[in-house]
Amino acid sequence: MSWLRISLTAFAISAALPVHAQTVTITTAGGDYGNAIKEAMWGPAAKELGYDVREETQSDGLAALKMQVTAGAVTTDIIHLGSPEGAQAAAQSLLEPLDYKIIDPNSVPAGAKSDYCYPFDSYGTVMSWSTKTYGQNPPKTWAEFWDVAKFPGRRALRANAQDLIEIALLSDGVAPADVYPTLSTPEGLTRAIKRLEAIKPNVSVWWTSGAQSAQLLKDGEADLVVTWNGRAQTVKADGGTVDYTFKGSVIGTDCLAVPKGAPNKEAAMKLIAAMTQPARVAKLTDFIAYGPVNPAGYEGGLIPEDRLKTLATAPENAGTSVFSNADWWVKNGEAAQKAFDEMMNR
């Protein structure tokens, strides 16, 4: 009997302490956001799976991914990308297809689904303003944001066509549902660019990083800033004289993908499935105001009621917003960015 007990104990120990823990390397954007993803998502998931997860940070995920894959030296197993970058990477065959035997393909709404990059959280590109400048009477629509006579003040916009050309059309009276059909015509793109050119003299800063946009709000350098809701919320929560609205926001998603030729492909798929369980993507909102893409994340009271209004995809915030269309950007992104850069140059 005793030999059986010993071997059973040994078996139990070796199961609990595997000699070779499966290692997986994950690359995120780092900073507060990267830390939130670790605390809420992959940290607990790694513990559950018994994986040894290593973290790398890259502010420009796509450029890093492309370098790794084209150089044939892939070191990361999971990479965190914006969905437009994810679609772009997929089009350049830099990604492994998601293994839908491991990851549940029906856990995200049909419109957000991707075969290569699994969308897990969402954010809005929103209008934010200084409450010191506008008090109780801020601009309420993008059309008013463009109205420099009624709302004088210094604007700050991102130095990138993404989201801005959508917003430009919204400000010009295009309905949310018609934004991409309009942009898909050459006249539509020109119309958006012209609209941006019209506001250009009132733009004091074209920001290049989210942290910079938050700083501009905090310092009072700009009165009206187009930024990501997470950034605006952070400044507001820190006591900044700032507010923002989800009305007319452009909603984007971030996603997780496995680079082509990743060393631990299967473990990576398993970790993606585990770290995006509804409770974990709901937990992410404890740290940063980026709401789950998986509708199950909003069910069962996983997210406290008062926090829902700070999330772009919360049920009550839908309606006036536009879902950023990653496929449109893959097809037309280069032309749009070029037109934008030329506008900036004029």
Binding site: Q92, V205, W206, T208, E221, E342, M344
Partner: protein
């Protein structure tokens, strides 16, 4: 060059020269590995499509784009602007340093060197604190009633230039200072004893004798400023876009390594052109100096 009469001595000298030359081999090896190889790689990359086929398309695309040329103009404007301010501010400062008593000179030198030991990022963000709309300078200006509105000092060309001049000034100053220190004090005394005013002494004795230093300083300014990235990125507010920023954008927004490589080569060519210009100007000035001496 001295000609040695004794063949044994000459052979010795040859052996010595060869030995000294061989001492430079490790350095040459590192330069080859760290500078020449990547440049060759970039040149190759500039002729490849994203699919890896040979093409001249990248060159057509980059050279036919108005964005490239305006970035080139911005690069040159920033470099020459920085140089102009370095000469205007740095030359008198070098003169003051070179003529000050040693203790004062050392103290002044410490002030000059201090920023050189500070990280460029810290310094750049430091300027942001000073120059922004509610920053120290504007608060002082509007607070004292000197200006009604805050001045647009940053997030534009002005702010970028301020940051770049601040960075480059010590690096420009050092060779100029060294050249001025080397001027024989007797020459200055001689010119004074011949009745020259201070202005005349500076113009006819000190400046001509420090042109070498000013040239080296200017070349250093160019080498650095042509590739400046952080300062325009932070202080330019997205409105000042030299070639370095164009390269970053080509990579991060378009993932277009081919075009980015072409832009990098353009930067290299620009540097080479300026180097040749400098050499030519230097030779011309040296010839003129002899010309006046003969006249």
């Amino acid at each position: 060059m001295t000609v040695l009469a004794d063949p044994a001595l000459a052979a010795d000298a040859r052996r010595e020269r060869r030995f000294f030359l061989s001492l430079s081999l490790p350095a040459l090896f590192i330069v080859g590995l760290a500078a020449i190889l990547p440049i060759l790689w970039i040149i190759r990359q500039s002729f490849l499509t994203t699919g890896g086929e040979y093409t001249v398309g990248n060159y057509e695309k980059v050279l036919s784009s108005g964005l490239t040329w305006s970035a080139l103009v911005t690069t040159v404007e920033l470099s020459f602007g920085t140089l102009a301010f370095c000469i205007l501010l740095g030359t008198p400062l070098a003169l003051a340093l070179a003529s000050a008593r040693p203790r004062v000179a050392n103290l002044l030198m410490a002030f000059v060197m201090l920023p050189l030991w500070t990280s460029i990022l810290v310094r750049t963000y430091g300027w942001l604190v000073l120059l922004r709309r509610e920053g120290l300078i504007n608060a002082a200006l509007t607070g004292s009633g000197l200006t009604a509105e805050p001045l647009p000092l940053v997030y534009n060309f002005t702010g970028t230039l301020i940051g770049m001049v601040h960075y480059m000034l010590p690096l420009f100053l050092l060779p100029v200072y060294a050249a001025m220190r080397d001027i024989d004090a007797n020459l200055v005394r001689a010119s004074a004893s011949m009745g020259a005013t201070l202005g005349q002494t500076i113009r006819t004795v000190i400046l001509p004798l420090s042109t070498g230093g000013i040239f080296s300083g200017s070349l250093i300014v160019f080498i650095y400023t042509i590739g400046f990235f952080i300062t325009p990125a932070v202080l330019g507010g997205g409105k000042v876009n030299p070639l370095s920023i164009r390269i970053e954008r080509t990579l991060s927004t378009f993932q277009d390594w081919g075009s980015a490589s072409v832009l990098g080569i353009l930067l290299l060519v620009l540097m080479a052109l300026i180097g040749v210009m400098f050499l030519a100007a230097r030779r011309l000035m040296a010839r003129n100096k002899f010309g006046t001496a003969h006249a």
